[in-house]
Symmetry: C2
Subunit: 584 residues, 2 copies
């Protein structure tokens, strides 16, 4: 039972569900449903999908997340960045609006769902750790810009398109003369109104006497107002005949049962995009979930979250949707509106299902420009170039990672952008550890303390070189170690003994072991003995399973002081004649 | 002057060149030339190139390396693994024997040369560090097997081919009925003879009265004897008419002037193969060069070696060759034969140029089976499955890396094999550091020492949790830290203070900084204060450039003991009421 409950968190909170919790959840669900209707339509537009797909992608996925997810407040569905990545991935496969495009979207959601599920079952959530915070921040900022610019053509009522900033700007410039004045009027008013809503509506509602929480929630309904007013305007003034692009016919239907295409070619083409969408979606979702859980001193389980998101995406694949994840704005609204359990999500799904069945005829005249305005206003809040300044001040490698991510995402697209960001953070980290701090040490007179000869006044013996390595030894710094030691000895023909002080070495991997063997061998050929001192217990245990200790030309000393005492006592001639024989 | 000499090592040794050095170099050159003639022809066959390309690839590259390289004994030219990788890369572009294939070989050499040159000029030699020793060992072993199996068809005189073990074995099985008996007889005799030469010829020559060094060198001339005898056999018994494949017409010519094709499509297709060939070639070459240099207490400069190898490959690209690198066997022979400067290489080049001009008619009847035998005997010495056992005993992550590399190289080919080897070593390393050791510590009664509560009898205060983190904090373990701390506090509602003891933290990158900010914020929401103790100087300097210290709900303490003293003194109520106000 305990093990089933681990994979089905619903068994935990479901048992304690009561009428009070239900009424709180219901209120939250109504508020979130109102907010999600325009948002779902808008993100479907961004992903290049028909509008109803946005509603479908919110219904079954929310239900499945409610069963498998651990966050009490997370609301899953289409979100901006993942929708952009979906459009970029599918754009390489098929034309927007074709059957192939929608079918590939199902496959992308299915593949991504399967990957998340597998990562969850094998507890591979740690893979998301390889996305550093600055890379994520840079990626989200660059994606926000690309999304905003990609929506300008809907505001202007022109053609064009593309997946990189350059393509998008080229498209805008080429098609600018086609600008439709009626569309532009709607687009600019909607955008202006929505920007004002973000800043001005809440204070206005407060002045009108609403409580702070109600005013907060009322302000979130701004997009619904924009949708209503512009839809009525298009209908009332017959703006469709003036060339205003509208949503048009949307089928009145519950989510259909669909099956993703599973050709190996398609799976191969979508593998990398699906992986990136999974990881980015998971990172976005888990940060939101953890932030909200912490506010109530609750915890979310990252591996179970993977399973929840995996189930949600598989749900999207079989019900006419496209890739989904936990969204920031919808989850915060859900939380603020008082959602107490995942049942709030289930009730939201019911609300959206009613909308899909009953309300779709009402959005026939909804102008696409309004949806574009909704997207632009939402994503511009994601854009934060401050991360460039903060990382520049704090850490140059982080700055390089964030600048690369932003630059490549804007210039070459989202997939290359996030991949290069990950690659460059890992390379910079490995580069740092590949040049560990190595100090040549000597004894502080009259003590048993050994310190850096460049910082302290210390005693040394010209025949003995002691090097203290301040890092674990592994493949990336193995060659550095060889170079460093052999350089030191080659420069100074008086040296007869090299001692490696290993007090800070937590690990020696096989590459480093072989480097130590090579160092030992080459020093032996030069008539120099290699000694180790202060090797930690676990490291020593492992070395005993290798041949290094048998072949070592010198000895292993428990203490650095003991090593220097013993070696200084050896007369010069002895060191020379026994140079080629192992003594350890 | 000093700066020119840095890039032209020839100015250093050239100035001190004298007659004695010359005569030593000349002897070495003659010996190496004799050995290189069959080897160059054989590796051309392996790379899918015409035989003369093997000679061309050894002439100008050797000369250029003599000018730019730092190793006194390294002999560059075609080598087994790089020739295999060349065949694998070009096989995706064109059919063997076509003009397109040879042209692509020039482009591959040129691209690889340019990459090596750029890596050298920008001092990027450290990139080779990302190839761990077990990955290299696994890759070389798997490549050796693939090479040996790929040559069996020449021994049998049948068709077939392929770049993975499966393709090769399939080809052998399909074509087995076509086996040519005369070819098989030559192939088996040559292989048997060459195996015997490796073990038996040197003792025989010693018994015949030769000195140890001369016997050693005589044994290296075994392949020449095999070439002579089998060529005469084909000529004398007219085995060509019995279907024995021979080398045939080879133009009598100095290396021609050629220009690599530079279409962007071709460069794009060859980019990754060229990078892998450059890195693998560099790693192979630098290990040989360092081993030989160490024997004379000399040093090679890795970044200058990149320039030397880059120049050699560019030379190959413009003189009808294919990718080259420093070879193990030829360099050892060169060294053992007494080569003292890179001039020995230049003299070898002259010898090979004479061979290309004068001797090529003599190899018309040379059977391909003999060349295949030369290759098989040479590469089987590279095969070492012992690395699997050694890594299994010593370190499981290293074992996983080596097993993956061998498995993928055999099953899916050299490029995927080496790439996955690199990827998996890096992932395993990051995985290890992504779960650092975190100890909860308490005070040993009556002292100021704090130790792990699970290993020692210590005093703790239920309101205070102290965690000591034994690793630098960076992106891969930032989320782990968040999870670990919040888990600990969520489980235990009595906690009011969390102290992070940072004595072992050498770095906090921006991701870890943001995690600390998030931890601080979430703990604040739970009414728990976050404190730091024993932060190192450089880490503290950097933290002062961030907002963490301004926003920290607790304080930064110089010592862990001071922290516990100060916090234990606060009465319970105070900790509660001031829970949401920063005090640091």
């Amino acid at each position: 039972m305990a093990s089933i409950a681990r994979y089905l968190p619903i068994l935990d909170w479901g048992r304690r569900y009561d009428r009070d919790t239900f009424s709180d959840d219901l209120v939250a669900a109504v508020i979130v449903t109102i907010m999600l209707i325009p948002q779902s339509l808008a993100y479907a537009l961004l992903a290049g999908m028909p509008p109803e797909a946005g509603l479908y992608a919110s219904i079954v996925p929310i239900l499945l997340y409610a069963v498998f997810g651990t966050s009490r407040a997370l609301a899953v569905g289409p979100v901006a960045v993942v929708s952009l990545m979906t459009a970029a991935a599918l754009g390489q496969i098929a034309e927007q609006g074709t059957m192939g495009y929608a079918a590939a979207a199902l496959t992308l959601a299915g593949l991504s769902g399967a990957m998340l599920l597998v990562m969850g079952l094998f507890r591979l959530g740690f893979l998301a750790n390889f996305l550093s915070h600055p890379v994520i921040a840079g990626f989200i900022t660059a994606s926000g810009i690309i999304i905003a610019v990609s929506q300008l053509r809907h505001i202007l009522g022109i053609g064009g398109g593309g997946h990189t900033l350059i393509e998008l700007v080229e498209g805008l410039v080429t098609h600018l003369p086609e600008t439709n004045i009626a569309t532009l009027a709607i687009g600019i008013s909607a955008t202006g109104f929505l920007f004002w809503v973000r800043k001005g509506l809440k204070p206005l509602l407060r002045r009108l006497g609403l409580g702070p929480r109600l005013a907060e929630i009322g302000a979130k309904a701004g997009p619904v107002a924009a949708v209503l007013v512009t839809t009525l305007a298009v209908w009332g003034f017959d703006l469709e005949s003036s060339g205003v692009a509208i949503v048009g016919d949307v089928p009145q239907s519950l989510p259909p049962l669909t099956f993703p295409a599973l050709s190996t070619t398609l799976l191969g083409q979508l593998f990398l995009p699906a992986l990136l969408i999974s990881v980015i979606g998971f990172v976005e979702s888990i940060s939101v979930a953890q932030t909200l859980a912490a506010k109530k001193r609750e915890r979310v389980d990252p591996d179970q979250e993977l399973i929840g998101l995996g189930a949600a995406n598989l749900g999207a694949a079989f019900t006419g949707g496209f890739p989904v994840t936990g969204g920031f704005s919808r989850s915060v609204v859900n939380f603020d509106a008082g959602a107490r359990t995942p049942a709030a999500g289930a009730l939201t799904a019911v609300g959206l299902a009613i909308a899909a069945l009953a309300l779709t005829p009402l959005i026939y005249f909804l102008p696409k420009a309004t949806l574009a305005a909704t997207i632009i206003v939402a994503v511009l809040s994601l854009v934060d170039f401050g991360v460039l300044r903060r990382s520049w001040t704090y850490s140059k490698p982080d700055f390089i990672a964030v600048a690369t991510t932003i630059g490549i995402t804007l210039a070459l697209g989202v997939e290359l952008g996030v991949s290069s960001g990950v690659a460059i953070s890992i390379l910079l980290y490995l580069f740092k550890t590949s040049r560990p701090h190595v100090a040549e040490v000597g004894r502080i007179a009259g003590t048993e303390h050994f310190r850096n000869i460049h910082r302290h006044k210390v005693e040394t013996d010209p025949r003995i070189v002691t090097l203290r390595i301040d890092e674990s030894l592994y493949f990336a710094n193995a060659r550095f170690l060889e170079d460093h030691i052999l350089d030191r000895v080659t420069r100074d023909k008086a040296v007869r003994h090299v001692i490696l002080q290993c007090s800070a070495v937590n690990e020696i991997d096989m590459s480093a072991l072989e480097s130590l063997e090579a160092i030992n061998e080459r020093l032996r050929e030069m008539g120099v003995k290699l000694h180790l001192s202060e090797v930690k217990g676990p490291v020593m245990d492992r070395l005993k399973r290798s041949h290094l200790l048998d072949e070592l030309s010198g000895k292993v000393f428990l203490s650095q002081h003991g090593a220097v005492m013993a070696l200084s006592a050896i007369p010069e001639t002895d060191a020379d004649t026994s140079g080629t024989e192992p003594s350890g």
